[in-house]
């Protein structure tokens, strides 16, 4: 956040102080008065951690300021802060945070000191928690990682999946270079839930080549919660949850916003994204508009262009928020529209074509650069509308109601138009799905006694899907209903923290026509989910987390009723109407450690069993059609096991020179066939060196240079049923520079990154087009971010 913003927050907190004097913050004058005496020199330091007094979680981005000298800093993402060069004397330390009452503490500083500050949440602004229920839950006892600030800015131009790759344990399932889906601990698509601004994304996530329909520029923070036990959000999340949270609305009167410009050398792509927000002085009313435009042409691998791999995207959103005392009314609308070109050479007719293409291993022609988007093409539109009403019943209890509508239209244009098209149907898609989702959620955030906090709620969802063209899946409608209850015990000062959650869901599915067939079938599914989490703080630096839980997922309509040829993959897929629900049992243990800016690490081991895991089983005989033979697959289920290790660490080697390290190791096993699961990420191992500078001038946005090497090993644990063996391992080098400049009073953030610095030709196992082409080559990107503010 801006230094300027920080002052606003402070000013705001001062106003609130009058109103909420009874909830003022509790301050700790900690421990560390034992460090050496330093005389009268002005080189004392004050450091510590800002914590939420209720939940004990670190509070990132709180402002800490010494009133008398106006020396100020902001706490980092783990709540740590450090103020240097303080003269001995008596001071008033003021700590403030959006959404919290501000805290003041008098302090006589004679030596270096440690001051931990516990802040109490302010009931009025706490509605941010009410909405998504996230801030306290997501960090909860579960293993989660988060992308925000510079790291998010650097990646989000590449889409959601690619930006999340920066987190350990997250990879992507790609279809060519333009379609990318996040994979959490080996699971993807409908085994992951994506929440965009509190609304569960309901698009066409079942398809491997259906990328999530969200604009990452709407988010200020993206959190990945790993593992099944997130009962608060829904039953289906066997793999985990992705939460996209927008920047909290402006709390000070005036107008502000930010502008992003990004350019990419590979594909000659450009992105312009802007956000403008305002708030009234006299009325607690604020609003925001946001939009993103993206255009890119054909991508290039080290040796050839990829024809028809351009992208065109235009998104916009707006929101309004009215906050009278104890109430919040909020509306949010967003529209996402993308057109994705698909590599021409990947569209093949049958098994012979596929074998020809694999044998070539690369596109037929070298290709050329062009912005033209031809067939095959995907056009996807997603619209979200949400109204939320929240009421603070007391300082700790909040009630909220959210109603949302989503509409998703997916149009796919095959390489070949239909035969003998009528002139008016010449530009009609080959496949078209439309899905409309209405959802409502009622949630009660509450506190029981001093140390228990929880949420109790219910949600309902109704969905209608029509297949306007094509007969791959039937028309269907479904109705879901869920009831959940979570409680969490946290006591400040106690090393233990517990959390449990229970959930009950039912789903009714009705399928209607599929092509000219009227199936007219009803399926009902219902079951429980439960979770238990424990956190134990070994000492100030180390923490252990243990989570166990069980969740289930009902089979989807494509798994039940698919019938047809998938052109992109040249495979014939047959659904199985007798599939039962999947049941997952997740266990994970995490060891976390951190100390100020010196080092941090997290090591997670997980062991997940999924009974009735649904997968595609190759048939021994090819499916014969009038276009020739296609490899045929049946949806089948078996007990599976996925286990692995995620590692992430950051260590200061010398002053501001840091070693950053990430690794994920995973193994997927079909326990009935006694074979490996297909499309499990191979071992990834990333090491980087980051050197920070300019930290005094821009404490919140310090500049840095980074160079990182990514090692990916060949996937040896793959079933033999693949069309081609997994590609060889590779090493890729990436580099990045980030710098903040002041232009008068205006801050400018610049980023330069080069991915695939050495222009290495490589293939990723989890790219479904690895049969046809290598991954894109070197990509130099430039970006600039301009936050602005007028009062």
């Amino acid at each position: 956040m801006l230094q300027k913003d920080f002052i606003f927050v402070l000013a705001l907190s001062k106003r609130m102080e009058k109103r909420w004097t009874s909830f003022w913050a509790v301050l700790w004058l900690g421990l560390g008065l034992s460090t050496q005496l330093l005389g009268q020199d002005c080189n004392l330091s004050l450091r510590g951690q800002v914590l939420n007094a209720d939940t004990g979680l670190p509070m990132p981005y709180a402002g800490i300021i010494i009133k008398e000298t106006q020396q100020g800093v902001q706490s980092d993402e783990h709540g740590h802060y450090q103020i240097e060069r303080i003269c001995p004397g008596e001071y008033t330390i003021v700590c403030s945070h959006l959404g919290c009452d501000h805290a003041e503490q008098k302090l006589a500083l004679q030596r270096n000191a440690v001051l931990d500050i516990a802040m109490k949440e302010n009931a009025v602004t706490l509605e941010n928690l009410v909405v998504t229920g996230s801030s306290n839950k997501k960090a909860g006892t579960q293993t989660s990682s988060e992308l925000s600030g510079v790291e998010l800015d650097a990646g989000r131009g590449m889409g959601l999946g690619e930006s999340l790759k920066r987190l350990s344990g997250v990879s992507t399932l790609n279809t060519g270079a333009t379609i990318s889906k996040p994979v959490i601990q080996g699971l993807h698509s409908n085994r992951i839930l994506i929440f965009n601004n509190g609304v569960r994304l309901e698009g066409q996530q079942w398809g491997n080549e259906h990328a999530p329909e969200v604009d990452p520029f709407t988010a200020e923070r993206i959190t990945v919660v790993k593992g099944a036990a997130s009962v608060r959000y829904g039953a289906d999340a066997l793999g985990g949850i992705i939460l996209l949270e927008p920047k909290p609305v402006r709390q000070t009167p005036g107008i502000g916003g930010e502008a992003h410009l990004q350019g990419y050398s590979n594909g000659h792509g450009g992105i312009a994204s802007g956000m403008l927000e305002g708030r009234l002085a006299k009325l607690p009313l604020s609003g925001r508009i946001q939009g993103t435009l993206k255009r890119a042409g054909n991508l290039q691998t080290p040796n050839y262009y990829l024809n028809n791999t351009g992208v065109s995207e235009s998104n916009f959103s707006w929101s309004g928020k009215f906050q009278p005392e104890h109430w919040v009314v909020e509306t949010f609308y967003s529209r996402f529209f993308t057109q994705l070109g698909i590599l021409r050479d990947s569209h093949i007719g049958n098994l012979t074509d596929l074998n020809n293409a694999i044998e070539r291993g690369r596109p037929l022609q070298d290709g050329a650069f062009s912005y033209d988007l031809g067939r095959p093409l995907q056009k996807v539109m997603h619209e979200t509308f949400r109204v939320k009403l929240a009421h603070a019943l007391s300082e700790t209890d909040k009630l909220s109601l959210q109603v949302s509508r989503q509409f998703n239209r997916r149009q796919e244009y095959d390489a070949h138009r239909r035969f003998n098209p009528l002139p008016e149907t010449l530009d009609d898609p080959s496949i078209e799905f439309e899905i409309t989702t209405w959802a409502a959620e009622l949630n009660w955030d509450h506190r029981l006694g001093r140390n228990w906090r929880g949420a109790l709620g219910t949600n309902a969802q109704s969905q209608v899907n029509t297949v306007d063209r094509g007969a791959l899946i039937p028309n269907f409608d479904n109705f879901d209903w869920g009831l959940y209850w979570t409680e969490r015990r946290f006591k400040y000062g106690s090393p233990w923290e517990y959390e449990f959650g229970l959930r009950y869901d039912l789903r009714h599915l009705h399928v209607a026509e599929q092509g000219t067939n009227n199936l007219d079938e009803d399926r009902n599914f219902q079951n429980w989910s439960a979770s238990l989490g424990l956190v134990y703080a070994l000492n100030e630096d180390w923490k252990l987390r243990f989570n166990t839980g069980s969740a289930w997922r009902s089979p989807l309509v494509n798994e039940l009723y698919s019938n047809g040829v998938h052109h992109g993959s040249a495979s014939y897929e047959a659904g199985n109407p007798d599939l039962r629900a999947e049941r997952g049992f997740n266990n994970s243990l995490t060891l976390e450690g951190s100390r100020n800016n010196r080092w941090m690490m997290a090591l997670t081991g997980y062991y997940n069993l999924i009974n009735n895991f649904i997968y595609l089983q190759p048939r021994s005989e090819a499916q014969l059609t009038i276009r020739g033979a296609f490899p045929a697959f049946d949806y089948n289920q078996a007990d599976a096991r996925i286990m692995g290790i995620d590692w992430t660490g950051d260590f200061s080697l010398y002053k501001t020179l840091h070693l950053e390290s990430k690794a994920s190791l995973l193994s997927g096993w079909n326990r009935e066939l006694e074979d490996f699961l297909i499309y499990m990420p191979p071992l990834r191992f990333e090491q980087g060196l980051k050197w920070g500078f300019n930290e005094k001038k821009q404490a919140d946005h310090p500049s840095f240079v980074r160079i990182a090497a990514l090692w990916v090993l060949q996937q040896k644990q793959a079933p033999a049923t693949d069309y081609a063996p997994p590609p060889a391992g590779f090493v890729r080098l990436d580099a990045e520079l980030f710098h903040t400049l002041m232009w008068g009073r205006q801050r400018l953030e610049f980023g330069i990154s080069v991915s695939n610095l050495l222009n290495t030709e490589y293939r990723e196992y989890l790219n479904r087009f690895r049969y046809f082409t290598a991954e894109p080559g070197r990509n130099l990107s430039l970006r600039i971010k301009v936050p602005f503010n007028f009062t």
């Binding site: 009167p253 005036g254 107008i255 305002g278 009234l280 006299k282 009325l283 009313l285 604020s286 609003g287 508009i289 707006w318 929101s319 309004g320 009215f322 009314v329 509306t331 949010f332 529209r335 569209h347 093949i348 007719g349 049958n350 012979t352 074509d353 020809n356 037929l364 022609q365 539109m381 619209e383 509308f385 509508r405 509409f407 239209r409 390489a415 239909r418 035969f419 003998n420 098209p421 439309e434 209608v464 029509t466 297949v467 306007d468 063209r469 094509g470 007969a471 599929q514 000219t516 019938n563 047809g564 014939y572 047959a574 499916q623 014969l624 059609t625 009038i626 276009r627 020739g628 007028f790």
Partner: protein, 179 residues
């Protein structure tokens, strides 16, 4: 800027989304598929005209294509003309006209096994390159074998192995008996 000027647009934002949701333009399902269901081979020679076909009326999946055996006389010069039909609707549609109209984008490929010689294509597309709807087929001594007929879309006709490129629109392998 005067802050009050903001009030109206902000209020509008609270209300506007209600009005702007896109409607599902669904006019009932349009699941009609246009596809090739039939490959028909017409052999003319030896004083007669014989026709054989490969038919898959129910599309992908369901029942497998029904492919007739091609029965020809030995040592005869035939002209072979290939046609493609959509017989899933009535009246059936002749897709060969479209293949001809977009002749540059299409290529009919042949591959044989057993005791016979591959058909020699005789027609050209508008760019003067091979098309393959018409060809000459010369049978030898009595025997058996197979004839694979493939309709390729957007094949690279300048490629030496043109039939190994492009996307297959239709393909069938006929058993051939020369007797």
């Amino acid at each position: 800027m005067k802050i009050n000027a903001l009030k109206l647009p902000l209020l509008a934002m609270l209300v506007l989304p209600f009005l702007s949701c896109e409607k599902d333009d669904d006019n009932g399902p349009d699941n009609e598929q246009e596809l090739i269901t039939t490959i028909a081979l017409k052999f003319t020679g030896g004083g007669q005209t014989v026709t054989f076909s490969a038919v898959d009326k129910d599309g992908d999946g369901g029942s497998a294509p029904v492919i007739q055996d091609v029965v020809l006389k030995p040592n005869t010069d035939y002209t072979l003309s290939v046609s493609f039909l959509d017989e899933s609707k009535t009246p059936s549609e002749d897709i060969t006209t479209e293949v001809k109209a977009e002749s540059n984008d299409h290529l009919v490929c042949f591959a044989v096994t057993g005791s016979m010689v591959s058909p020699q294509t005789s027609d050209k597309d508008t760019a003067g390159k091979t098309l393959g709807l018409e060809s000459a087929f010369k049978t030898g001594a009595a025997g058996t074998g197979t004839l694979k007929v493939t309709l390729k879309h957007e094949a690279d006709k300048s490629n030496a192995n043109a039939c190994g490129t492009g996307e297959t629109d239709a393909e069938a392998i006929f058993n051939v008996k020369v007797q």
